[in-house]
């Protein structure tokens, strides 16, 4: 087990910078999830920690040791690949023990380690099978087993569940979470699925275009996103963004006009330096932060485009005349229908404000 830190880590391919000045501290035993859209550099960052990609600048430290020039095998890490990367011609048993056998690890110790993995992951009946005779979930379990056998200081997971179907993904997610509790080892997990990030992580690192946008606990990110990108990325269905114009500024308050929502006006509390009157800003409201008409700070009248009734809740995809779309969660209502007109109110305490550059105004 070990803590891990990145100091100003950068990576360039030629003149193209994939990762820019990444700084991150991971405590011993923490479960950290790198999340971001495709191409944001999260897998590259993970591979840099693994040593499979060289870093251009900066310092990576695992435990007390700077590992910039340490071979991947000597970093004390184990990695679970998206494609599982099992050795196709070997049985599960051989897959698990291959690394140890090749490095001359004592036979008794190898057997002990493999047995431990078999007990933890309950894969005894799979031992004589080859990868192609396993289902996706079983392969994933073997790939995780191969990582555990190494008894690493840090586990790295590169989108390990993205090839599984939805049901199995949920099941494996729970298993990985249980495994983390059982082993207590530091784990770093890459995913583009924000639900995985929210459910697994102690700490989420949101990346975009090679930059770390925000680091924080899942609910911190959900409640207090640092910017519009994080606000939009975390949460499903995603946060609604409405164009607004500042029409009044008083001490501790700002008044906005929602130009695309029938010029509705609303006033929000604001601690930061307020924007100037006439500035364009964006109002962010999560789907569950709408309430019945007159129950909040401003009423919006919208037309139901699609209503999704999930049983416990309903999602209303609504259009306003300007074409802006809103997603509204309605727990009580199962009766909204397409083309219905609906009036809902915004809960003031949950409305977020972003300036024109996407930065949060608090």
């Amino acid at each position: 087990m070990a803590e891990l830190s990145l100091k100003n880590v950068s990576k360039s391919f030629g003149s193209y910078e994939i990762i820019r000045n990444a700084c991150l501290d991971i405590a011993d035993g923490e479960f950290v999830v790198f999340v971001g859209p495709s191409g944001c550099g999260k897998s590259t960052l993970l591979r840099m920690i693994a040593g499979l990609e060289h870093i251009t600048h900066g310092e990576i430290r695992i435990g007390d040791e700077v590992v910039n020039d340490v071979e991947p095998a000597d970093r004390g890490i184990a990695m679970v690949f998206q494609s599982y990367a099992l050795y196709p011609h070997m049985t599960v048993e051989e897959n698990l023990s291959f690394g140890l056998r090749m490095t001359g690890n004592p036979k008794a110790d190898t057997e002990r380690r493999v047995q431990r993995v078999v007990d933890i992951l309950q894969i005894r009946e799979l031992m004589k099978r080859r990868p192609k005779q396993l289902s996706g979930g079983q392969r994933q379990r073997v790939a995780i087993g191969r990582a555990i056998v190494r008894e690493p200081r840090v586990f790295l997971f590169d989108e390990p569940l993205s090839n599984l179907d939805a049901e199995l993904r949920v099941q494996m997610r729970v298993e990985i979470s249980r495994l983390h509790k059982e082993l207590g080892t530091t784990m770093i997990y890459v995913t583009h699925d924000q639900t995985e990030a929210m459910t697994l992580a102690n700490k989420i690192v949101v990346l975009r275009g090679g930059n770390i946008e925000q680091i924080g606990a899942p609910l911190d990110l959900y409640d207090n996103p640092a910017n519009q990108f994080v606000a939009g990325f975390v949460g499903s269905p995603k946060m609604n963004f409405m164009s607004a114009e500042v029409v009044g500024v008083e001490t501790g308050n700002v008044t906005l006009m929602l130009s695309n929502q029938g010029n509705v006006r609303l006033t929000l509390p604001l601690k930061d330096t307020p924007p100037a009157v006439g500035d364009k800003v964006t109002l962010g409201v999560r789907p569950e932060h709408f309430t019945n008409a007159d129950g909040g700070i401003a009423n919006l009248t919208v037309k139901v485009d699609v209503a999704e009734h999930l049983g416990n809740t309903s999602y209303i995809y609504a259009n306003v005349a300007s074409g802006e779309q809103l997603i509204i969660e309605r727990e009580e209502s199962r009766h909204d229908k397409t083309r219905d007109t609906l009036t809902v109110a915004i809960k003031s305490s949950h409305a977020l404000l972003f300036d024109s550059a996407g930065n949060r105004l608090q």
């Binding site: 184990a78 690949f81 291959f98 690394g99 490095t103």
Partner: protein
């Protein structure tokens, strides 16, 4: 027959006709011929003169022996060489891969007569570049065309030169189908590059290598151009006569079509048997 099928067979008919006339019929006809003495007119059923002769003809045994020697030496040497070439071609360190791929494949495209002529020149006793090179490092000149072991080596060198690159390209495609992350997993497992090659690359390449070996065995069984053109019709004195050349001489020089047919069938059966043996050895464990 349903109209739809009739139309389909109508369109297939030209191909099926050609296939029947130029493939099926010769196969059947030569099989029948292999039981006939074709040196009398009219031909008579006499398997003793064809199949029977195979068992007692020293010239056939000589050709069979030569073919087997070439096969046993040339195929393993060439496949090993091809595998090494493929691994080098696949190396991320290698620049101008396209050029190397072309260069390795080029010998297959070169005309057979031109290639044979170049080899005859290169291995010429007096002014060939090979003997000059040998002399320059103190090895006496070799009489490539008049000594059987040397002529046999020359054949093996020529065939290897011609087909190693071709097999390397096939093996390369196999190498490229091995996912990179399997090697990355092995690297993280602290497995050295050499052990990765032995324990991952070779086992995963096995089906491709078996395929190349089978193709090469079939090719070697039919070896004809090289002994015909390079070592001057299987010279010296039948020292490099192969089954393919022996068949040609029986069929087209002596007009003994019946005997030639029985040789052809023997070659095919041998190729099938050796290939099956190979596939059985290289079979994937259940």
């Amino acid at each position: 027959m349903h109209l739809r099928y009739r139309a389909a067979y109508g369109f297939l008919a030209p191909y099926l006709l050609i296939f029947a006339v130029f493939w099926i019929w010769p196969i059947i006809s030569s099989f029948i011929m292999s039981f006939q003495n074709t040196r009398v007119n009219p031909w008579v059923f006499n398997p003793g003169a064809t199949w029977g002769r195979l068992f007692i003809d020293p010239a056939f045994y000589n050709a069979l022996k030569n073919t087997m020697i070439i096969l046993v030496i040339q195929v393993p040497v060439m496949i090993t060489l091809a595998t090494i070439m493929a691994v080098l071609l696949n190396s991320p360190l290698l620049k101008a891969k396209g050029l190397f791929r072309f260069a390795f494949f080029a010998p297959v495209v070169v005309g057979e007569v031109a290639y044979a002529a170049v080899f005859r020149l290169m291995f010429n006793l007096d002014f060939g570049i090979i003997n000059k090179l040998l002399l320059s490092i103190g090895i006496p000149a070799v009489s490539w065309f008049s000594e059987t072991p040397a002529a046999m080596s020359l054949l093996i060198i020529a065939v290897t030169w011609r087909w190693a690159g071709y097999n390397a390209i096939i093996i390369l495609s196999g190498l490229q189908s091995i996912p990179e992350d399997v090697y990355e997993a092995a690297t993280l497992d602290r497995v050295s590059k050499v052990k990765q090659f032995i324990h991952i690359t070779l086992p995963l390449l096995k089906p491709i290598i078996v395929f190349c070996v089978v193709l090469s065995i079939i090719g070697s069984m039919q070896l004809f151009i090289e002994p015909m053109l390079i070592t001057n019709r299987g010279g010296p004195g039948g020292g490099t006569e192969t089954l393919g050349l022996f068949l040609y001489r029986q069929g087209f020089a002596s007009s003994n079509f019946g005997y030639a047919s029985s040789i052809a069938y023997t070659m095919a059966v041998l190729a099938i048997l050796i290939s099956l043996l190979n596939m059985w050895i290289g079979r994937e464990a259940k």
